[in-house]
């Protein structure tokens, strides 16, 4: 079923909206949540929570891109569950990916006061539009979806070496872009 039709079902308060969402995106939701959470029970809880959240949010929310909205909702909920249950220890891959991405930043950066998440998100988006489709996909898969190198290899067909190199170069470009945008104490230091 078309995403727009699913949203119409939500607006009509038709419970088929949930079943159709589950049918079309259930596996994807579990995949996204599964990269963050450590147990299948948590994943199922996450997906259930998201379905309920969608039901409560739409309407009035009318997402232009339902897939992205759903994916972000799943990701956020998965991190919430992860944090509430001894987060970083349980989702091992999350910690690794988070640390890797954090290496883009200078240790001296005063994130507590200077970090502007929304503005940085804009910088990242602009960069990803410039780095090419393949590099963009690899970056999103690794840092947004929290996928392992092996998973990215499986999904893209690229070699692991190419993936690691792509990530390194994109991080370097990101660090440079952030510095240009005036984020204080930014450096181009990357691992």
């Amino acid at each position: 079923m078309d995403d727009r039709r699913i949203i119409e079902l939500f607006f009509a308060r038709d419970e088929r909206a949930i079943s159709e969402t589950e049918k079309k995106y259930g596996a994807l939701c579990r995949y996204i949540a599964g990269n963050v959470l450590a147990s299948r029970e948590d994943v199922e809880e996450c997906v259930s929570d998201v379905m309920l959240a969608l039901w409560n949010a739409i309407p009035p929310k009318d997402p232009e891109d339902f897939c992205a909205y759903l994916s972000k909702t799943v990701r956020n909920r998965a991190y919430e569950i992860s944090r509430s249950a001894n987060a970083w220890k349980r989702g091992g891959n999350v910690t690794v990916v988070g640390e890797e991405f954090m290496s883009t930043l200078d240790d001296g950066t005063d994130l507590a006061s200077d970090f502007e998440a929304k503005r940085m998100g804009k910088v990242i988006s602009d960069l990803l539009r410039r780095v090419g489709e393949a590099n963009k996909d690899i970056f999103v898969m690794r840092y947004w979806l929290g996928m392992s190198h092996a998973q990215i290899v499986q999904q893209t067909g690229y070699s692991e070496g190419k993936i690691k190199m792509s990530l390194k170069r994109t991080r370097e470009k990101l660090a440079e872009a952030l510095r240009k945008e005036g984020f204080t104490k930014w450096s181009s230091k990357t691992n």
């Binding site: 596996a27 994807l28 579990r30 995949y31 996204i32 599964g34 990269n35 963050v36 959470l37 450590a38 147990s39 299948r40 948590d42 994943v43 997402p63 232009e64 891109d65 897939c67 992205a68 909205y69 994916s71 972000k72 990701r75 956020n76 991190y79 001894n86 970083w88 220890k89 349980r90 989702g91 091992g92 891959n93 999350v94 988070g98 991405f101 954090m102 930043l105 950066t109 994130l111 507590a112 970090f115 998440a117 929304k118 940085m120 998100g121 804009k122 990242i124 988006s125 990803l128 539009r129 963009k136 996909d137 999103v140 898969m141 840092y143 947004w144 979806l145 929290g146 998973q151 999904q155």
Partner: protein, 257 residues
Amino acid sequence: MELENKLRKKRMLEALDYIDDDIISSTVKKITPDDYRVAEPVMTWRTPLKHWRQYLALAACLLLLSIAFPLFNYVAVFISNLTGSAGSESTEAISSELIDTDETDQHFTTESLETEQPNLSTESVYTEPVFQYVISREEFDEMTEAWKKFRNNDKAYLTRTYEEFSYYYPCQGFVCVYMKKDDLLVFCCHSSVTLYGEMTVAGCLFTLPQMEEIWVYKDKEFLSLTQAYNSGLLNENEIKELSEIHYEHLYSENKYG
């Protein structure tokens, strides 16, 4: 420093959340999630300990149940015997007294049994049978052999062990005797047969594939009611009375269990 790192991670995740929808969507739609995986769990001391505690609690519950349940059963029977004997009479004493009684041709109706056997308390058992006839192990063995012979060793009529007989609700070692005449014993060996034919025998001597049966036991042999009537052991009036007792026993709002 640790707090700062946590904050960095949090803000970093927030920044990633502000990546434009179309970028996320275009990548996510390329993923073919045949199956999802869960992140590698990092073993901490809490997880196994939690399970360990659960197993321990479960084991403790099972242990308590295994001790308490048979104990409860034995206590119930013991109290029943103790209060029922009104003194020093043992189970076997009650049994032999009932068998060796000199009263002949006595019909045990509900009323007469309740008045004539006040010492056989029913408080400790779940039912109020017409007559609680305590069966000793020896008698049980004899009756079992007789039963096998009566049923031609048909596997459909499997016998119970004495322990099973003594254990199952509601009789717990008793059978419901409707009539005792000399050494003739007429009793109901009722079984709780569900509507679907599943046997859930409750305290019977034997497992019976049908309910509402009355059995006659004499000289270590079983007879059906018809056989007892045809052989002159029971007369027509007695058969009629037995039917009434039996009906009341089974259907009168569980008056007798």
